[in-house]
Symmetry: C2
């Protein structure tokens, strides 16, 4: 029998290096709905996966509200054509944002290369000066 993994809020906060406060806040915003055993929250694998998605979304600049919208859509029984089309529209939109970000990152990377190169040049120049 493969017992399903369980986590306390403390374990989860250590795992992802965030505060328990944050996790409770995400729950308050209805991004997480952990099981309860008495008063305590019990997190399962699906909660852990969700949290991972939340943090990834955050790193990409999505608001918690946006993330919730995606979750809701994902959770919904996508059974009607309008719903499916809404979902497709949203994913397309997100894809556009991500492409923009990819572009931004590439540009910034190039600039970083440039800055680094110049710094290194400067450093070797300084070295040369010290050796004369």
């Amino acid at each position: 029998m493969t017992q399903e993994q369980q986590y306390s809020i403390g374990e989860l906060s250590r795992l992802f290096d965030i505060t328990a406060r944050s996790i409770r806040f995400y729950e308050e915003q209805e991004l997480l709905v952990p099981e309860r055993q008495g008063q305590s929250r019990i997190y399962h694998l699906k909660d852990k996966v969700r949290l991972k998605l939340i943090l990834r979304g955050k790193r990409l600049g999505f608001s918690l509200a946006e993330i919730k919208t995606l979750f809701d859509l994902y959770d919904t029984n996508l059974n009607s054509a309008p719903q499916l089309k809404t979902m497709l529209a949203i994913t397309e939109q997100k894809r556009a944002v991500l492409n923009q970000q990819l572009n931004d990152i590439q540009m910034l990377m190039i600039e970083l290369d440039d800055v680094e190169a110049r710094c290194k040049d400067e450093l070797t120049e300084l070295q040369r000066g010290n050796n004369l």
Copy 2:
């Protein structure tokens, strides 16, 4: 003679599709230092470039304070070895963040592909049902 381009705050706000308030706020935070002609702000090409960088940084989730730090470092005469090394350390750090984001984006893209595929399948299923 190539006259250098000048912009009013309104022109700039329209160019980048942001409010004049935002531009003034960036100045308040010392991210922009436009020339003054009497009471009015005059923006030159370098200001436009800066603004572009600000917005790109924002899209990548950098705070205005972080962006300012980068600008300050970039503006500083990087003449001492310690300064150069600080700069290199920071660029390395930013590079790590960007790589993480690249990773995140790729993951999300894959998930979007998945969601889209399933939506499209569902849609064709519905179509099939309607035609029977």
